[in-house]
Symmetry: C2
Subunit: 250 residues, 2 copies
């Protein structure tokens, strides 16, 4: 704890600074040890406050992590939309070159291009999730543990921001794939849920992962999350696209 | 607690009977209240044993639920394979009728048949999961909470049975779809993980679900698990099939 005055905050700005300091401390601990290991007392120690003082700013331990999860949804949504925009810009260039192919090859080229677009989009989504391990950890804990020990008002505030993230990233997906918005939202919901589940099952440098790697019979329990997640998202986009307005490949 | 003698078990049969009684009590409580609410003490009360006596049969609360989860994987695997076999038998009949279509309509008919097969297979998988709410609940808790407070030996025993379930159901999927075994396993892993995640997010008759339903802004948080899960699995099968040996629809 350096440079922050933890007298009781008197102004809205001071209150916000306290909240941010508490959230930053919780994020540091959860990044190091995993969300499930971090208690409210540990966060209070890390931020240099008494637990009772800290709980003037957040209802419970779960409230702190639910707020972190809401912030993580917002940060992820902005970042992945920027990457999908960049992908859309590159795709325009690529389409220009494909239209110069001979008409005999056009169907095959079109199909290959669609598969590649699904793969590229999936890779962007998977990488954006896997490179945010704290978000992945929070994604798994949110429905199971973090929405349960807080007021419904806090659940609503969190859920509103998470749903906004799903809708925003879904809309961005529609600019780089032929998916309908409901299909795109389903891709986002599946990608984020699977990122949470797979991270829990396969997070590197955990005791469980080391154990799975040491037992030949458990080889299938060892999952490299990023390629596995890319593969699932890519197949899902291809499958939805086959049912939507993407021109049929024949 | 009726008719079971809870003197210390002296024979392997008596020991197994105790274990089964403990598992059945834990399953009853978890079905009623959810896995996360059930403590070891509550299970001991339900089965009519002292907690210390009960913990001669299981290492921890988590060990009890990990054993329930292993049993649930085995039961689900057997049941869903039987349903996929029945589906395969019906599909043979349907293919016979399709081959009598005119050749002009054959491509369209073939494609429609493929979509229908993906949809039927997805519906079998989704229904088999959603109709087992305790299995869905355990699926979400296993990687997050239940594999953490038990010995590695117990984790290995559980994981071996879960992986066998994925492999068995994956192989059965290969008989009703053109998927490769690795793709089929990915479908099973995704279906089971998503069933766990969606059940937590959307389980009916919970306080959270009632709250989501009462708030118009949270309409997208209300998910009907079975159709939503069927949709995801179906798109995933279609997407994998497009990349595999399923004849291309042109």
């Amino acid at each position: 704890m350096t440079g922050v005055d933890f007298e009781r905050a008197r102004t809205p700005e001071a209150k916000r600074a306290r909240q941010q300091a508490i959230l930053a401390a919780a994020a540091r601990l959860a990044t190091a040890d995993g969300v499930r290991e971090v208690t409210a007392s540990a966060v209070a120690d890390e931020v240099g406050m008494h637990k009772s003082a800290m709980l003037r700013y957040f209802e419970t331990r779960e409230d702190i992590f639910l707020q972190l999860a809401a912030d993580a949804w917002g940060e992820w949504s902005a970042a992945v939309r920027a990457e999908l925009e960049a992908l859309a810009a590159r795709a325009v260039t690529s389409v220009t070159s494909v239209t110069s192919a001979t008409s005999a090859n056009a169907a095959t080229a079109g199909r290959r291009e669609q598969d590649q677009a699904a793969q590229d989009t999936a890779a962007v989504l998977a990488h954006s999730l896997v490179s945010r391990p704290l978000f992945c950890d929070l994604l798994a804990h949110t429905p199971l543990n973090l929405e349960r020990n807080v007021s419904l008002e806090r659940v609503k505030a969190f859920k509103t921001r998470a749903l906004a993230g799903v809708a925003e990233v879904g809309a961005a997906l529609c600019t780089v794939t032929p998916l309908r918005l409901d299909q795109a939202r389903s891709v986002v919901a599946t990608a984020t849920s699977m990122a949470g589940a797979m991270w829990q099952m396969a997070a590197p440098s955990t005791n469980l992962r080391a154990f799975y790697e040491s037992e030949p019979e458990l080889a299938h329990a060892v999952v490299d999350v990023e390629p596995a997640l890319t593969d699932i998202i890519s197949a899902l986009i291809t499958g939805y696209a086959a049912r939507s307005t993407w021109p049929a490949p024949n």
